[in-house]
Amino acid sequence: MSDLQPVLPVSESPWQQARRRFFAGRMGPWGLRILIGIFLFVAIGSILLPFDFYNVPQPDEINFVGRPPAWGRPFGETGLLQLDVLTLVVNGGRTSLMIGFLTAIGSIGIGAFVGVIAGFVGGKVDSFLMRLADVFLMIPSLFVILFLARILQGVGGGGMWTLVFVFVGFGWMGLARLVRGQVLAIREMEYVEAARALGVPPLRIAIRHILPNAIGPLVVAAPFIVGGAIVSEAFISYLGFGVDPATPTWGNILSESSKFLQQGNWWWIGFPGLFIVLTSLSVNMIGDALRAALDPRGRK
């Protein structure tokens, strides 16, 4: 060989490519920045401003409207108990974000597990798991939430775990179908057959050849689940069946404040609402950017 060999470009795996495309865009990085900002705000805020529902100071005056933002109380104060809205928002954010991420982790875990088993094993196991998913899809989840909210009141976390439990219980089916479909499709790919034709053991084919090629859609789905769960929590808490008011969440702050909206105290409803919107927006931006980055047709 001569010394004049071409210099090969730095090798890049498809995952690295996807990461580069994700950060090359505008939506993805900004979504990520907003989400990280919310995280820091909530984490630092809830350390500096702890909240104990059973130990709030006596209000200095009876005031239904609350007090608007001012120096020293940037998000204003609520009516009645004169709670600091900033304190409520940062502590509520902790619970809301936990609900979002626990739901995503739980339903992706169960969905991936069920989908992989169904896709690999096939046959009767596959039919059983998919019919089970159909059954879960048929049950209206709102009904179950209202029902369980009453039964599981003593679980702790003020109802947060009930919500996560129900969100996961009714959130895994779509993911299981997604993963199963992927596994079925990837199983028929020529490189899987080639690996079989060269004697590669089945477990290794499953882990190294099928799984890495099948999880793309799952990665894309994850942020949307986080956003969906946070919005659902707000909706259910608004109905009064979510997390009890002793544990603030963005949803139940909204629920309380909505009763007083007509008095014109926009800050009480505005700030938790803003955070729900921002979180939902940022995870959707991340999800969309991930989808574009992982889409093989958009490869650059």
């Binding site: 490189y191 057959e193 080639a194 034709a197 060269l198 190294r208």
Partner: protein, 333 residues
């Protein structure tokens, strides 16, 4: 070394069982190259997949005998076949881009075959994989080993596939249209490489192709398949120079050649019959220029012809003597 005898393959379909490969027999000696030639759907790929037990078991019925190193392979459990695949018989696929895992480096994919056949642990296998990439003449093999399939050219990918097939040090490599997806100059290089590496190692090569040019350059012997049967078999040079069966004759005549310039391309009338309704008698007779009544009535056997050839045709002797084709019948028939 590999002896396939009386191989039958049927597929279970919604319309009942359909036999797509019938009574296929061939054997390959170490270092030899046998080419199976035929149109799409003639059963050549299915025969190869049946040989290494890669047809879906719940949808296919394989009977006959496949003997490898003196052992019968048909009916063996999957665990036994896994040792044979890659370690005894390897396979190279047509489309190297889709036959390589897109998210794994090629070095790792070669190492995986080495580990699967106990030829090293994960540490040493990566080193050895580079050696195989060098064996298939990939420059800067150590760096290429760390690259992903999409970073290689088409020819290089197929070289990597060959390296994977060689990694288990098999005694037989089945190459299913290995050069169809490559352009002509690369085709010649890859074929030459495949032939040379297998000959050096004494590895037998079963080449499946529809390209007679590929056969002429590479194969020692040739088996022509039509509608699931072998219709002619023999040394590649002899069969291509003087085909004895009407189908092989027409196939060779359809190759564009310099001598025939200016004339129209020669074609074979009609279509390949579907396995669900093969014609009675000789399966080629509706399209055959030499067909007589007997051809529709009974199936000709694959008869030995000379020391090293075999032909499936009632009129092989007459054709060899220069028989005139019967008048063309209407295309509707």
């Amino acid at each position: 070394m590999v002896d396939v005898a009386g191989l039958n393959v049927s597929f279970k379909t919604a319309l009942g069982t359909v036999r797509v490969v019938e009574d296929v027999s061939f054997s390959i000696a170490p270092g030899e190259c046998l080419a199976i030639v035929g149109e799409s759907g003639s059963g050549k790929s299915v025969s190869a997949l049946a040989t290494i037990g890669l047809l879906p078991k719940d949808q296919s019925i394989v009977t006959g005998s496949v003997r490898f190193r003196g052992e019968e392979l048909l009916g063996r459990p999957e665990s036994y076949m896994r040792k044979v695949r890659g370690g005894g018989i390897s396979m190279i696929f047509q489309e190297p881009l889709s036959a390589l895992n897109p998210v794994t480096t090629i070095g790792e994919q070669i190492a995986e075959v080495l580990v699967a056949h106990g030829r090293g642990n994960w540490k040493t296998a990566h080193e050895k994989a580079i050696g195989y990439l060098e064996a298939v003449e990939i420059a800067q093999a150590a760096r290429r080993a760390k690259q992903y399939p999409h970073e290689l050219s088409g020819g290089m990918r197929q070289r990597a596939m060959i390296a994977m097939a060689l990694a288990g040090e098999p005694e037989l490599i089945i190459a299913d249209e290995p050069t169809t997806a490559l352009d002509v100059t690369i085709q010649a290089q890859v074929l030459e490489l495949l032939r040379r590496t297998t000959r050096e190692r004494g590895t037998a090569l079963l080449l499946i192709t529809h390209d007679l040019g590929v056969v002429a350059e590479t194969a020692d012997r040739i088996a022509v398949m039509y509608a699931g049967q072998i219709v002619e078999e023999g040394p590649a040079a002899k069969v291509l120079r003087a085909p004895a069966s009407p189908y092989a004759l027409d196939l060779v005549a359809s190759i564009p050649s310099y001598e025939r310039r200016g004339k129209g391309l020669s074609t074979i009338q009609g279509m390949v019959p579907s396995p669900a309704n093969f014609p009675s008698g000789c399966r080629f007779h509706p399209r055959c220029r030499f067909a007589v009544k007997a051809c529709a009535a009974s199936v000709p056997a694959l008869e030995p012809r000379g020391a090293d050839r075999a032909v499936r045709c009632f009129r092989a002797d007459e054709i060899a003597d220069g028989a005139r084709p019967a008048a063309r019948r209407e295309a509707s028939k």
